[in-house]
């Protein structure tokens, strides 16, 4: 049964499109909301948390329409994409304040705040001012305030951004744990492998539209079917291109404006990268830089929207 139901949801900022005609059903467990920067992930999150009114369509969480319903915030924990905090407060004071806004009495709020900090590995920073927190610690604090009231639904907007490896690991494990316990977690990110660590169920958003929905592995396969572009920088680009033309895995070679750069298109990047070092050594062709151009999510989306 779907916990989050989205029906033809659209939002414009005057002439700029936020999200367009999104329809989705999100069931208990972890679902990744994947998309490049500016895809409309945060807009969708804010629409789902009732912080913004949709122009058309409707959305409900646990059967509660998301717009203008206070009861929604009792079942939803929201981790917004923001970096600044009340710098003068300590982490514990901040979380206590947030817990009190949920209606917890002072003592219970303090205890809950302390537990929240411990849960996110911030027990050593309880009395430290937020101003002295690292970016990763702030992220964890932000995450902690979202789970303080143990909500059945969690909406996490880029929760791992800027986190240190340990904090990241703890957060990923916690998100998975939430999913295992039957809670509904919608977590947004623009990094594919980050989402893969947490779930296999994804919604792919680009230019405000829902581009794909389903298993992350299917997306991976789609990516792998596409040719990859590798940019190589060498002072001997003509000599190198003459040799690369003979490679069966190379589809095309193009010269860039920079006289020392060329771009190779290949369907088998692994084979290409295995062969390249030997060539460099045998033919004495110096290579100063190699960059694969397709590893970012933007290009994945470009492939997906190709007719």
């Amino acid at each position: 049964m779907a916990v989050i139901e989205i029906q033809n949801l659209s939002k414009w900022y005057d002439m700029v499109l936020g999200v367009s005609d999104i329809t989705a059903r999100i069931e208990p467990g972890v679902t990744g909301l994947l998309g490049p920067n500016g895809a409309g992930k945060s807009t969708l999150m804010k629409l789902l948390t009732g912080q913004m009114k949709a122009d058309t369509g409707h959305a409900a969480i646990g059967g509660i329409p998301v717009w203008n319903r206070i009861a929604l915030y009792e079942i939803v924990g929201f981790c917004p994409d923001m970096e600044k905090f009340y710098e003068r407060l300590t982490g514990h004071e901040f979380l206590t304040y947030m817990a009190r806004l949920h209606g917890l009495p002072k003592k219970a709020a303090r205890e809950t705040a302390f537990e929240g900090m411990c849960r996110l590995g911030l027990e050593d920073a309880v009395d430290k001012r937020i101003g002295a927190y690292s970016k990763g610690m702030r992220q964890r604090l932000k995450f902690a305030q979202a789970i303080l009231h143990d909500p059945p639904v969690l909406l996490l907007d880029e929760p791992l951004q800027g986190m240190d490896p340990l904090g990241r690991m703890q957060c990923v494990e916690m998100i998975r744990e939430f999913g295992r316990r039957g809670k509904t977690v919608l977590v947004s990110s623009h990094i594919l492998h980050e989402v893969e660590e947490m779930t296999h169920r994804i919604l792919v958003l680009n230019h405000g539209q829902l581009l794909a929905e389903g298993d992350v592995h299917e997306i991976r396969e789609l990516i792998e079917e596409q040719p990859r572009h590798v940019r190589i920088q060498t002072p001997k680009r003509r000599e190198l291109s003459n040799i690369l033309v003979a490679f069966p895995e190379v589809q095309t070679i193009s010269f860039e404006e920079d006289p020392e750069e060329l771009t190779v298109q290949t369907l088998s990047p692994d084979a290409f990268f295995q062969r390249l070092p030997a060539l460099v050594l045998e033919q004495h062709i110096p290579i100063t830089q190699i960059a694969t151009l397709d590893d970012n999510l933007e290009s994945v989306f470009e492939y997906l929207v190709k007719p």
Binding site: Y13, D14, V16, K46, T49, Q51, M52, I70, A71, Y73, E74, V76, F78, P80, M82, K84, F85, Y86, E87, Y97, M98, R100, L101, H102, G103, L104, P105, A108, T112, E115, C118, R119, E123, Q145, I147, H149, D150, E173, M174, E177, R181
Partner: protein, 299 residues
């Protein structure tokens, strides 16, 4: 490093009533303002008129002391009369104090939340926009009560105390009501104005500047217009006091004298000034309605 169990404990106790959630925002804000540098000193400075009035009440009970010091009895008695005008003058003398307190206590109330994008956090908790505004407004309101309503009522108490006349409160119950009403006429628009101004900016300094402009410029303009357009040809169409409607200080003066049944400083009916006050409320409400949103739309 301590290892904690990775499980979750839902709070099963009694929750605070939803209607009182705004008090949490208020109490935090009140504490924060109290810790502000210079605030206590300014507050003490703002209470100086109260001390002077308290001395006046004391002397009004001990007139013989002044007569013994050689002051003429009748003049002293007139000068130290504790009547409705005494309380009205006290409240009106506190306008500048209100201005200072409002600036210090209110300028950063919403601006700081806009600066830190904390509105998103607030509005993702089970509180309404109205709860948020009540909480923020209560911060400025508390301190404004501290320099208007509370000292005025304390002066009534002092009068009763020095005269050992505890029936004073009952016999002067209409005065008590007038003080309460007029104190609110003074402080509520102040609170609304500073909230609106603070919601328009992300910087405390900008809020301070905007509030000063809104508070002081119309006063100067009204006085200039009133004097320069004091021509019989113009006043045939536009009453001389018409321009006083555009200045909150004039509105306060007219409404104050109306509430305390004193001679009115302006010729126009007090209802016009009440309407002017309503416009201020509506404008501030409109600004707050537009500005207090979790999401900042960047165009």
């Amino acid at each position: 490093m301590p290892v904690y169990e990775q499980t979750y404990r839902h709070y099963e106790g009694v929750y605070r009533p939803r209607t009182l959630i705004w008090t949490i925002i208020a109490s935090r804000g009140i504490r924060r303002v109290w810790q502000t540098k210079w605030f206590k000193m300014v507050l003490f400075f703002c209470l100086a008129p109260f001390l002077i009035r308290a001395i006046q009440i004391y002397l009004s009970v001990n007139l013989e002391l002044l007569q013994w010091m050689g002051f003429p009895a009748q003049q002293v008695e007139e000068l130290l009369a504790i009547d409705d005008l005494f309380y009205l003058n006290f409240l009106q003398s506190q306008m500048f104090a209100c201005f200072l307190i409002t600036l210090i206590a209110g300028a950063d109330l919403i601006a700081s939340d806009r600066r830190t994008k904390a509105l998103t956090l607030y509005l993702s908790k089970p509180i309404t926009r109205l709860d948020y505004l009540f909480g923020k407004g209560a911060v400025a309101l508390t301190y404004l009560y501290g320099v208007t309503l509370i000292p005025a009522l304390l002066l009534m108490f002092l009068y009763a105390f020095f005269h050992e006349d505890w029936g004073y409160f009952w016999s002067q119950r209409t005065l008590f009501l007038r003080i309460v009403v007029y104190a609110h006429v003074l402080v509520l628009p102040m609170v609304l104005m500073i909230l609106a101004v603070s919601s328009l900016s992300k910087s405390k300094v900008n809020s301070v500047v905007m509030f000063c402009v809104i508070y002081l410029i119309p006063l100067a303009l009204c006085n200039i217009l009133r004097e320069t357009l004091d021509d019989p040809i113009i006043t045939r169409f536009i009453p001389r006091d018409f321009w006083s409607l555009f200045c909150i200080q004039n509105i306060w003066a007219q409404l104050g004298n109306t509430v305390f049944h004193q001679d009115l400083p302006y010729e126009m009916h007090w209802m016009w000034y009440a309407a002017g006050m309503a416009v201020v409320w509506i404008l501030c409400g409109w600004v707050l309605h537009r500005q207090i949103q979790a999401v900042e739309v960047v165009k």
